[in-house]
Symmetry: C3
Subunit: 332 residues, 3 copies
């Protein structure tokens, strides 16, 4: 595993916007290595033994938290789980104090989800631990995009040259934002498609194309990523009805037949069957939705692993900075 | 451990109705082997290292979930815990999607509890993982019956020829149903005893005897299993009062004196002191209630272990079916 | 590690009142040994492998539970977490039954927090497992005081001869009580300081001095331990307002300047910034608040480790008492 880790230099994973194509590829390659090891019957390694990964979830989550937790265990880390009711950064001090206290228990990596964009960035400035963004407000959800890319690469060989269409609520979606950054860096053409109320103005500046008709772009698309409709948020304000949404933007058997023969259907889940896609599509040959879940474990292992390797190198160079060696008080 | 595992062939444990006497004995023997290993100071083995056991509990549970979770850890598996509010199978797709998503994280065995009878059977048809029933509606709770049998065998040497009386709410009890299947297969005489409103009609067809008087059957009984009265369900509809229930069907010092000298008192717990039994009985010489809890860990280890062994054999014969080797998409 | 463990003889840790100075020092020395091991890059040892530590929390807790859980994992124990809604000992049997049932799963050490003073003592009489008090009513919170002492010793070399002032709600504080016992035994001078409504009458009998003015004792104090104000309890009944409390008893920059040059600021947390102390003090050079959290892990590891060693010696001398060897039924 020397090759991949030799050049990973980041202490944190806050988003994909700041990563280079090479860095993104490094994570995907590391995930592929874990995939091969699992296939050889070596799903578990002891690389992170003796370290602690804390999951700090200030927003409800089931699967992302389970995925990170299992990824940490597969690497033999100990895990700490902290779940809080939604908490805004208007109580910023409390949020940072909570994180610092948990860090002080000897935590090496902090996985954080928060309703406020920028919360992981703030933590990264306040903690000695590494910070991994597990979704912050409408900003980014980098590991979700990484698993999307890994899944596409797994089925298509590479990303460059593909046309990927993100369908649905682009306006509020951190998944969309992380996907756009990463897909563009890796050379994909990206179309965002949804009702005009759910497309942010001037999004073309990110290098994407905009469409308000799924049928219009179907024949050009290699991969369709069906973002989740969040009923609690969108029902009334942004489009007339769920039924109308499903009619214009839901994937169904008809649209599959009009799409490219080898089109891939992705969805970050949990899916609303009958809304973003019909059951026959969800369970059909084009769907790679469960692959995404499987690959989520792999890319999260890769991120934890690469950051851990970088921390160790850094501790070797600057032993006085090593967590275990310094218990020096509450300095920032 | 070769002998026991050589002939275990089932991928799932859905109930005891479909098991042969030999299969039930195989589980009990394996549990006894784990008991001996613990007595030798080897409580932990690494048989399931690298595998993942998920606890999917769609009904509240404390002790069964803890017991399965600890059993998995004793075998060195990683564990994932998922707890959901009560959810009916009218939302069947959601239930299956939830399970499939968790399975896709690389889960080998799924322990499931659900308020709907048949939910584990449904999952077993939809997942590649093995499914273990931790209680489904009024259908079965196989590991509870297995720990009851293990405890009886531990104190009596064998099951055959004993008279076991199940007392209380037979109508709603999955514990009763699993006990009846297993006890009959292993050659016990089974009496079900309770108010007539709580005895299902035609239950004699299962090979059991019915009594509405505990005092009447006391002198013939070797083992009394006191089912839990669930106040929330039974208080009003099925019998006049808790006090009356305790008077007619509760075990107390008087009844112990009228019972066989070596009668065993079992209860699945959590017990209602003063209802199903008085404190002097719960804490007295005849009670094996805490043995049941200890043995619960052993039989659950045995079930997880035997199913794991069978999965490995099957993977060797059909390597392409191995979980780790196939990441092939969302096919059913 | 032979030296420290050779003479530890207690099966339980219920409070610091009953411990000798030598016993307290033994725990602190063991914690220091774990600190050195962590500094050498050996944060994890397998001393408790194969044993089970159960966290039974009958009162809400985040950080104490996480700290105990991680301490157990660092020692390679398996852990069981049980959290219940607040439950009074008026339901005493239920509380003991719950603990006994969890113990019966093969638990070696039970960490218990309960709103009723004396709950851990009661458990210690009912269980074969060792009981560690993680806070009971207004009685004691021994590991919190141990981590306070460890932190003071770390920064001052020893405890004897220091003046330690406990500030705030002495009346309701189990942290204050455990600190008083331990500090006096180790030779410190202890001042309790707060509004007269929050100082128990006759507390001088414990060997402490009483002050109702922080400013009065500031110049004589080496360590200030700022107890948490619990708004829900104290707001109305015991002092006029939070603002007034902060004015008279809060640590702020002014008071730091009037204090000894090397004064240490401790707080059990979670802190209320602007109440017990201002942010500049919380984050300043004198604060050792985050050290306390880090050290909490170490003293809890030490307690679990010493008690485990004692259990093993005892099992060697009396093998029939060993947990693994006896599955003998529900005797008390």
């Amino acid at each position: 595993m020397k090759t991949a880790t030799a050049s990973w230099t980041r202490k944190h994973l806050l988003g994909l916007q700041e990563l280079s194509a090479e860095e993104i590829t490094m994570i995907l390659d590391q995930a592929a290595e874990f995939q091969e090891m699992a296939a050889r019957g070596e799903p578990k390694i002891d690389a992170l033994s003796g370290t602690v990964v804390a999951n700090l979830f200030f927003e409800p989550s089931t699967r992302t938290k389970m995925s990170f937790s299992l990824a940490a265990k597969r690497l033999s880390a100990d895990t700490l789980d902290f779940t809080a009711a939604a908490s805004s950064l208007s109580k910023g001090e409390t949020f940072v104090d909570t994180a610092r206290n948990i860090e002080a228990m000897g935590v090496d990596q902090v996985v954080v989800r928060h309703a406020t964009s920028g919360a992981p960035l703030l933590l990264s400035k306040k903690l000695k631990a590494s910070v991994i963004n597990a979704g912050d407000g409408m900003h980014e959800h980098p590991t979700q995009a990484l698993l999307d890319l890994f899944t596409i690469r797994q089925h298509r060989g590479s990303i460059a040259g593909l046309t990927v269409t993100l369908v649905g609520d682009i306006l509020h979606s951190r998944v969309a934002r992380s996907n756009i950054w990463a897909l563009k860096k890796l050379g994909a053409r990206v179309i965002v498609c949804g009702p005009s109320t759910l497309i942010p103005p001037h999004i073309e500046a990110l290098g994407v194309e905009v469409s308000n008709s799924l049928d219009e772009v179907l024949s050009e698309t290699d991969c369709i990523n069906l973002l989740r409709i969040q009923f609690e948020r969108q029902r009334s304000a942004f489009f007339p009805s769920i039924r109308e949404y499903a009619h214009f933007f839901g994937m169904n058997g008809d649209r599959i037949r009009k799409a490219k023969k080898d089109v891939l259907i992705l969805a970050p889940g949990p899916i609303n069957r009958g809304v973003e896609l019909t059951p026959d599509v969800a369970d059909g040959n084009h769907s790679v939705i469960l692959d995404q879940v499987t690959n989520g474990l792999l890319v999260r292992m890769a991120v934890l692993y690469l950051i851990h390797q970088r921390r160790q190198l850094s501790a070797d160079e600057h032993p006085e900075r090593s967590h275990q060696g310094t218990i020096t008080g509450a300095t920032t």
